[in-house]
């Protein structure tokens, strides 16, 4: 317990970290307890209550179809967090494995994989998303595939570069000279020393992933309507921006809060646990 408490205290000591942690917990709380926090059904259409401003009944007002925006925002948070956490975890695992192979494996394989990573990264994210969704059709899976395709090359490259640097370090050479197998060297000497920075970097990528999900939903390439997503709420707001600003505010503010929260938290994590990663 004390082991867990110490890092949290370190984060809380930084004002920005405390703010980030608070925002993130706030968003998670809203998503987890969405059923308890609102009685409205996020997909229930109510044509008589269109374009309402915030009121005691509808905390954030209603959209062009009269759906309760507060309920849509809460349930949209579930989608955003689900996509962010699951696809980042998947990317991390794939990225680490590919990076270790490229970094520790033979030279030709490394060159080939680097070429693949660079080619993957040279597709502009949105263009890749557009092409994929045209073929697969819009869905949550498509969003997650895009996220994995976009983030894996970066993670793999970082792991690869670090692995190559460590491969010639004296302590790895020392392990080789003691007769350690490649598997042992990767597991005991390389992985523990490369994984920490990567997990921190990945946590800082969560806002990017949330941005991708919201962005694709905004373009109508993500979750199918009527399912609520912050991106699709924002799109509703954009379409009706000349009628009311409330929908755009309801869709955009959660995105801003969440991305800022995760970023502040990630930055603080990095500064506290791996000061080498930051410029200073």
């Amino acid at each position: 317990m004390a082991e867990l408490w110490r890092p949290i205290r370190k984060i809380l000591r930084e004002p920005l970290g405390a703010l980030g942690l608070f925002l993130v917990l706030f968003v998670i709380f809203g998503a987890v307890f969405a059923d308890l926090l609102t009685g409205w059904d996020p997909t229930k259409i109510n044509p008589r209550d269109r374009f309402q401003g915030p009121s005691a009944d509808h905390l954030m007002g209603t959209d062009q179809l009269g759906r309760d925006l507060f309920a849509r925002v809460l349930y949209g948070g579930r989608i955003a967090l689900f996509v962010a956490l699951v696809s980042t975890a998947v990317s991390l695992v794939i990225g680490i494995i590919l990076g270790l192979i490229a970094g520790y494996g033979p030279r030709w394989l490394d060159n080939l994989m680097i070429l693949l990573f660079d080619a993957m990264k040279s597709f502009p994210t949105v263009m890749l998303a557009l092409a994929l969704v045209t073929l697969m059709g819009p869905s949550l899976t498509a969003v997650m595939v895009v996220v994995v395709l976009v983030t894996v090359p970066g993670y793999a490259r970082i792991i690869r570069t670090q692995t190559i640097a460590l491969k010639t370090s004296e302590y790895v050479t020392a392990a080789q000279s003691m007769g350690a197998s490649s598997a042992r060297i990767l597991r005991v000497h390389i992985l523990p020393n490369v994984i920490g920075p990567l997990v921190i970097l990945a946590s800082m990528d969560i806002p990017v992933v949330i941005g991708i999900e919201a962005g694709m939903s905004f373009l109508g390439l993500g979750v199918r309507p009527p399912t609520p997503s912050w991106g699709s709420i924002l799109n509703d707001g954009f379409t009706n921006i000349r009628d009311t600003a409330w929908i755009a505010i309801a869709g955009g503010v959660p995105i801003i809060i969440t991305t800022l929260g995760f970023t502040f938290l990630g930055e603080t994590l990095r500064d506290v646990f791996d000061p080498r990663l930051k410029g200073r």
């Binding site: 994210t125 263009m127 092409a131 949330i210 410029g279």
Partner: protein, 314 residues
């Protein structure tokens, strides 16, 4: 320098080739048939078969890839489904608008980012440094389309300071620039943050270097040390960063074009999806990818020109 250039050019060509291969694999492997996609659900089986024949989808995979690959290198990306015009022509018509947007974005990010980063580094630890730090992180975090919509909402819809829609009257440069302000800000704002952070970090690193200590020990003026000795090195990672950033700016440009209803490749490809104009989608993806690789190459060459160590290591 010349061998460096050719080496980088070869690498760029290799990356583009692999990217073409990946794109082809995606089209081929993903469930969903380009012909059905193009024709929509109401097409008859004969219509699909005819289109498949026309698009060469009945040939063996390797032949299909070879045709695609050779076609792409020679600028033949197929014809648009609706009007039958060559995809290359259609995309190149729209490309200048997008490039203008990206150049605008780079201008914002460089013009604001470098001075801010430099200022933060020189006054390290001060409130100015902290504010710049927090602001940079904040603008990096918020997705560009959120910035685009809120910029539209605040400056165009509510305040009515700047135009909301379109690229401006053709031939009227002033009007076109006014129309560029908001979209390019949406594209470049995050990069102001990235660049400010990068410049600050690498300035601090360089200022710690022993050659800077030597320069101080020779009594050189602070201005010479900061701007000629330190910034000239600290700026190098920024160029690389911008090279990579252009890819993300291309993505942001798609949103900016849709939000501000500007012409450009983003709008083109978005409309193409709605009309199931599949060749336009792949063609645009490929052309923007090549553009990205070329601009990256340019960034590398600039680094080579600025840094004598890189120049002679090849």
């Amino acid at each position: 320098m010349l061998s460096y250039f050719f080496k980088r050019l070869g690498l760029a060509a290799a990356i583009v080739s692999v990217a073409m291969f990946l794109l082809f694999c995606m089209i081929y492997l993903i469930p969903g048939d380009p012909a059905s996609v193009a024709l929509g659900p109401r097409a008859t089986e004969e219509m699909r078969a005819a289109l498949r024949e026309k698009m060469g989808l009945n040939q063996p995979v390797l032949v299909q890839f070879w045709n695609f690959y050779i076609g792409a290198w020679t600028g033949d990306l197929g014809d648009e489904v609706l009007s039958g015009r060559p995809v290359t022509t259609v995309v190149f018509e729209q490309l200048p608008y997008t490039l203008a947007l990206i150049v605008g974005g780079i201008t914002w990010s460089v013009a604001l980012g470098i001075p801010l980063g430099c200022w933060a580094a020189v006054s390290r630890g001060s409130w100015a440094d902290r504010v710049v730090g927090i602001l940079s992180v904040a603008v990096i975090a918020v997705p560009s389309f959120v910035i685009a919509i809120y910029a539209l909402l605040i400056f165009a819809v509510e305040l009515r300071w700047l135009p909301a829609i379109g690229a401006g009257e053709p031939g009227n440069l002033g009007d076109q620039l006014t129309h560029l302000i908001l979209p390019s800000l949406a594209v470049g704002l995050g990069w102001v943050g990235y660049i400010a952070r990068m410049v600050r970090a690498s300035m601090l690193e360089v200022l710690e270097a022993s050659h800077i200590r030597t320069a101080r020990a020779f009594g050189l003026p602070d201005r010479t040390i900061t701007y000629r000795y330190a910034l000239s090195i600290a700026i190098l990672p920024t160029v690389t960063l911008l090279g990579v950033g252009i890819g993300q700016m291309l993505s942001s440009a798609v949103f900016a074009e849709i939000v501000f209803a500007r012409p450009g490749v983003g709008k083109l490809v978005y409309d193409a999806i709605l009309t199931r104009n599949f060749p336009i989608v792949t063609g645009t993806v490929l052309i923007t990818t090549v553009l990205f690789v070329l601009l990256n190459l340019l960034a590398d060459l600039i680094i080579g020109a600025l840094d004598p160590r890189v120049r002679s290591s090849f």
